[in-house]
């Protein structure tokens, strides 16, 4: 009995080492940003080109500043107290450029990323964006979207033509040159092809174009509208809007143009299909309940259900690459504003307030949204973070730019 009592007491007695096992909290204010210092560019060999270093510093400052977790110090500000130091060195040999970029952590005394790029001097910005992508990969485990391109519709030549530019608005390049109306560019998942609707042969037909070779094919020329094409995540199928049966319906075709299925059968107008990240669902716009609202259906057209329950006119949805949010434009107050909503209909959040903002599209990593806005007068292309912060104009011309879409890395 005594032994039992002793054992019981031993069990109940507080264990000294267990008492010391609890953890202690270490906290710090959450708003702090990583202090990134950009060291002045150094010369590996060949002539010095200070303007090259300045352009790179500006580029890194824009890319990484847009990301939102960095406070970027300009070159010459010193590296004392920096969490991270970005170092660049270059070698110029005529028009040939070798660029070395390194990301260094002075606290942990380790190199986080190091890349050497070789190419022409005109590729300088592409090399810089590529290293910005690597910086995000090194720090977050997920590559940045800065080498992606933005395709958009511009009236630079007077007609609505499709152009492609760097994500930051630099280096615009013409894609179509047919003097007609060209609309709704959409990148293939590879980023190397686009589909778009053009009136160049009279009817609004759907075209597929390889950007590097310029090869083009008319993949849907059915009577009526062939528009708002959207690649499935696997790149093999395209959901698009056809009016060949008299009503606007969503159909599924192969990337060669062969019709696979009709996804909607409703006397209402069904438009703007967009795939979920896993290709299992589509979000689209329908006025089957009276006003244009967002609906979600399975990839075979089954199980349609209403997504948005507020707002009288909701259009142009796009599912985020991670599948967690759907961005769209809602009409109200004389214009459109961009909203984001969870796929289950919760957390509908307005992201823009200035001017009229339309055609939102995600960056390939889902961190940013590109859209068009008339807040400064004519429609122009803008970027913002997924939470609506850091809204930044990237259009550099004064003509009307609209319908942007962001490709994966080239």
């Amino acid at each position: 009995m005594k032994i039992l009592l002793l054992l019981l007491l031993l069990l109940l007695a507080p264990h000294p080492s267990r008492a010391a096992e609890g953890y202690l909290d270490v906290t710090a204010p959450a708003g702090r940003k990583l202090q990134l210092s950009i060291a002045p560019a150094t010369v590996l060999s060949g002539p010095a080109a200070p303007e090259l270093g300045r352009e790179l510093a500006d580029l890194f400052g824009f890319d990484l500043g847009l990301f939102g977790s960095f406070s970027v110090a300009a070159p010459g500000a010193g590296t004392a107290g920096a969490d991270l130091v970005l170092k660049t060195a270059y070698a110029l040999n005529g028009s040939a450029l070798t660029l070395e970029c390194r990301l260094f952590d002075p606290v942990l005394n380790r190199e986080l990323a190091a890349k050497r790029y070789t190419g022409g001097l005109k590729e300088l910005r592409r090399m810089g964006h590529a290293f910005s992508d690597e910086v995000l990969r090194a720090l977050t485990g997920e590559k940045g979207p800065f080498t992606g391109k933005i395709a958009y519709v511009t009236k630079l030549s007077g007609n609505k033509e499709i152009f492609v530019m760097d994500y930051d608005g630099r280096n615009p390049q013409r894609v179509t040159h047919n003097g007609s109306i060209n609309l709704n560019p959409e990148f293939a998942p590879s980023g190397r092809e686009i589909i778009y609707t053009s009136y160049k042969k009279g009817n609004p037909d759907l075209y597929r174009r390889e950007l590097f070779t310029g090869a083009e094919a008319r993949i849907s020329a059915r009577p009526g509208l062939n528009a708002m094409g959207a690649y499935a995540p696997d790149g093999s199928r395209i959901a698009l809007v056809l009016t060949k049966d008299g009503n606007s319906e969503i159909h599924l075709i192969s990337k060669e143009g062969k019709e696979l299925a009709r996804l909607t059968r409703n006397p209402a107008i069904d438009v703007s299909p967009a795939w979920s990240h896993d290709g299992s669902k589509l979000v689209f716009v329908s006025d089957r309940l009276g006003k244009p609202q967002l609906f979600v259906m399975d990839a075979d057209g089954g199980n349609p259900r209403r997504l948005t329950t507020s707002g009288a006119y909701n259009v142009t949805p796009r599912w985020s690459p991670k599948g967690d949010r759907i961005v769209y434009a809602r009409q109200g107050g004389g214009g459109f504003q961009i909203h984001a909503i969870n796929p289950d209909g919760s957390q509908d959040t307005q992201l823009t307030t200035l001017g009229s903002n339309e055609h939102p599209r995600w960056s390939p990593d889902g961190r940013f949204i590109v859209f068009s806005s008339n807040r400064d007068g004519e429609d122009a292309i803008y970027l913002m973070r997924a939470d609506g912060s850091a809204q930044t104009r990237v259009s550099r011309g004064k003509v009307r730019d609209s319908h942007p879409t962001w490709s994966s890395a080239w």
């Binding site: 710090a28 959450a30 702090r32 990583l34």
Partner: protein, 239 residues
Amino acid sequence: MFTLSFLCHLALFSLIIWFQSPPVFNPSEEPVTYVDMVTLPVASPQAGTPAPAEEQAQKAPAAPAPVRPAAAAMALPAAKPKAKLPPPAKGKAEKPAPVDDGREFSERLEKIERLAEDKRQAAVLARLRKGGSKAVGMPGAKGTEAGSDYSSYIQSRLKDAFREVMASQTRAPQVLVRISIGPDGRITSYRVERNSGDPLFDDAVARAVALAGRSFKPPPGGLPFERVFRFKPEGVVVP
């Protein structure tokens, strides 16, 4: 009868004189001092391992350093008149005339402080002669390590470093880290027991530990130290 009348008149007269004379102002007021309470890291965790009571008794006068009114840094009333003095005119070498009231006040204040300190030291000596208090880490303690609070010292150093390098891209990340410190104060082991899923935050924690670990004092008693710390953004409630 005459005597009684004389006494009554004398009493009345005394009362009249007493009422006419004003009460004397008693200047022996307690000085008002202002003390800012600041949480500072434990500067010397070995403070919890004092010498035996006998040694303490010999060193007693220096042991419990009473909190003096922090000299000029504190906002003592005596310092105020100096601040209000007009700046000396250019070219004049002589000092402004000292203010007599302020000097008297300072002298009285010093006298009171001396008396108070003497009383405190006498009380400490008396306690030590009785065998010391039982509180660990206090004057006269027996020298056990429990009162040194080395964990709080490390927590404080980590917190200071974490403020310098904090970064995150998610709303409520948290990281559990087991830190081992050798007898020489160096980190011997850093093990992440649970990461946050936010690489920016995980790296910030690693930076904070590395930064703080450069200046850890050795654990008390020459023994190794190990503890789990939870890093999280300030004000975030983690279930």
